[in-house]
Amino acid sequence: MVFSDQLATDAQRLVDRYPVSRAALLPLLHLVQAEEGFVSEDGIAFCAELLHLTKAEVGAVATFYTMYKREPFGDYLISVCTNPTCQIAGGQAIFDAYRTACGGDIDRDGAGVMVEHVECLALCDAAPALQVNYEMYGPVSHAEAMQLLADTKAGNPPVSPWSNTTPQTFAAVQRDLSGINDGVDTELAEAAKNQITGYSVPPANRSGETDIPVTHPGGDPAGHGGRILRAAADMTSTQ
């Protein structure tokens, strides 16, 4: 897949918010997920190239976190809590019925849904709780839950009683999760740069437990540090 110029622009905005470029990886994966509805090999390659990482390094991160989906499914992700309080209140039965109704985890008919069981959603006072594209619902009766599935499949998920919001599509909510819509880009980019230039020892570009600290700005070619170093060396290229 060829990504849009807009994605490249947005991705750079996210990278510029951090003093060390790799810190933008989780937001970037949300952003590429917004493009395709899942994190594809192309999405991984895009992040890797932008951050000067290997595809294996990015893939290792993308596969670690549950919110990055590895296959396309459509517009709505339904997450059912099956932890004890919700389980006792009927959450497990709802999840099982969803899987039966969908013929598995994914039902591409209509708007397209994926159902998943999730760990505690922090809505234990409204058990059984579930989410559609990360908007909260609960408590839901079994019948209400089945209606919610039917409405969601038809592309009309109900308004969340907790956030008073109708779920956006999965792609749209991923854009939100990337932080690209948070604003204050200029301020955050200035702050990130200040962390490199305002201190005698800038943040390290790698700080795993075995190699603390590697702290020279040129060690982060994709970030502010590398750019500052190149500027100092009178190199005009941004590549």
Binding site: Y65, L123, T165, D176, D182, G208
Partner: protein, 443 residues
């Protein structure tokens, strides 16, 4: 002993309409704590937090002021303030409502923490699944920038503080502070070896403090109202107030704020008691990682010390009450599946142990339990507790070990119900087959 019972401090603004808007927030005392902090030297802010006796609200209960005093200063590196907003401990729902209902309280707390620690940059690491909290915080941060509370000169003081909202991507382990830092750096969320501690080598190798949402939000209140005000509630060792979530089989599950020291029975009564006339059987004082306690321990007070005496922990403020209708083993199995799912895979005891514990508990629940399984569970637990890389391993053992202590009879009854066990010959032979039996389970 100070005042007990219901409190409206952190939750005072929950009922104010549209308090997520900065004008409304300021009409209700908002940013007064920040103004108080701007008149104080950083060391004095830390001293006040220490004097108040605020203990970390994220689970471990470590004194917040002391944690801040460990952060290395004048190293030539930037100092970072990181808020752990990755609330995910089963049963816990106290930080999410605070961020959704009163997001400026966290923003203000972060700025104050930044002033106290001479930090110019803060990060809020928010659990990715909290979409509504993310919207509320992003809005609050934009407004705080517009009003000059964030940026190059905080409220005109000439001191810089910037704040980024950073959303995670779904991993319970990122609530562990060093795993959170790795995740924030764009890596898999796996815990780091300590030492070095984050106070000297944290985010990007720089001095860092990681604090829970509720701990950070409490600081502006302490500065605004004073140490004596904070200490009017609670006990000497557990002063102040605490946001809690009461759930399980209670009549009115929900969010409550109580003085530390409030009797557990009173907290249960606040939630309307057990629902439908059910009888309490067991309860968790602070999430699934804290050892469960039997109904008789309801006589305890809600303090760090009283719950510790009972052999458990205050944890994350997640009180879960379960009735005699509910199978202890079933609940424990479900929690164990949670840990199996959330183990990051870095260390062997946790990665492998969680799998096997889940298998063994699963077969006991299914009526396929073997007589040697109880000893096997205890052995596996013993090999995880204190031997895992981070506290997730200990947390996993808590519900199992505590249920074996208080409800061994339920395990025995389930295992006795397995017809295959009635042809067994003797206990010695069965124990000898333990390892083989467990290994065979994988197929």
């Amino acid at each position: 002993m100070g005042l007990l019972g219901s409190v409206a401090a952190l939750s005072a603004r929950y009922t104010v309409t549209n308090v997520g808007d900065i004008d409304v927030y300021e009409q209700h005392g908002g940013y007064d704590g920040l103004r108080a902090a701007l008149n104080l030297e950083p060391a004095v802010i830390i001293e006040q937090v220490k004097a108040a006796g605020l203990r970390g609200r994220g689970g471990a209960g470590f004194p917040t002021g002391m944690k801040w005093s460990f952060v290395a200063q004048n190293t030539g590196k930037p100092v970072y303030v990181v808020c752990n907003a990755d609330e995910g401990e089963p049963g816990t729902f106290k930080d999410r409502p605070l961020m959704e209902r009163d997001p400026h309280a966290l923003v203000e707390g972060m700025i104050v923490a930044g002033l106290a620690l001479n930090a110019e940059q803060g990060y809020i690491y928010l659990r990715g699944e909290f979409a509504a909290a993310g919207r509320a915080l992003a809005h609050a941060i934009r407004q705080a920038y517009d009003r000059g509370y964030l940026g190059a000169s905080v409220a005109g003081s000439g001191r810089r503080f910037d704040l980024i909202l950073h959303r995670g991507a779904g991993a319970y382990i990122c609530g562990e502070e060093t795993a959170l830092l790795d995740s924030l750096e764009g890596r898999r969320g796996q815990p780091r070896l300590r030492p070095p501690f984050p106070a000297t080598h944290g985010l990007f190798g720089c001095p860092t403090t990681v604090n829970n949402v509720e701990s950070i939000a409490a600081v502006p209140l302490i500065l605004r109202h004073g140490v004596d005000w904070f200490r009017q509630w609670g006990t000497e060792q557990s002063p102040g107030f605490k946001l809690i979530g009461v759930s399980g089989e209670v009549a009115n599950p929900g969010n409550y704020e109580v003085a530390l020291g409030t009797p557990i029975a009173e907290i249960l009564a606040m939630a309307g008691g057990m629902k439908n006339g059910k009888t309490l059987k067991f309860w968790f004082p602070g999430g699934s990682s804290t050892p469960m306690l039997p109904a008789a321990e309801i006589v305890r007070d809600y303090t760090f010390e009283s719950i510790a005496e009972a052999g458990s922990m205050l944890g994350t403020g997640a009180l879960m009450f379960y009735s005699t209708d509910t199978s202890v083993v079933e609940v424990v199995h479900r929690f164990t599946q949670f840990y199996e799912h959330e183990s990051c895979g870095k260390c062997t005891p946790c990665r492998e142990g969680s799998f096997w514990l889940s298998q063994i508990l699963g077969r006991i629940c299914d009526g396929r339990g073997r007589p040697e399984d109880i000893q096997l569970l205890a052995d596996v637990c013993e090999n995880i507790f204190g031997r895992a890389f981070c506290a997730l391993g200990d947390g996993m053992v808590s519900p199992i070990a505590s249920s074996l202590k208080y409800f061994r009879d339920e395990y025995d009854a389930l295992i006795a119900a397995n017809p295959a066990n009635h042809s067994a010959t003797n206990g010695t032979a069965q124990l000898a087959t333990t390892a083989v039996g467990a290994a065979g389970e994988k197929a």
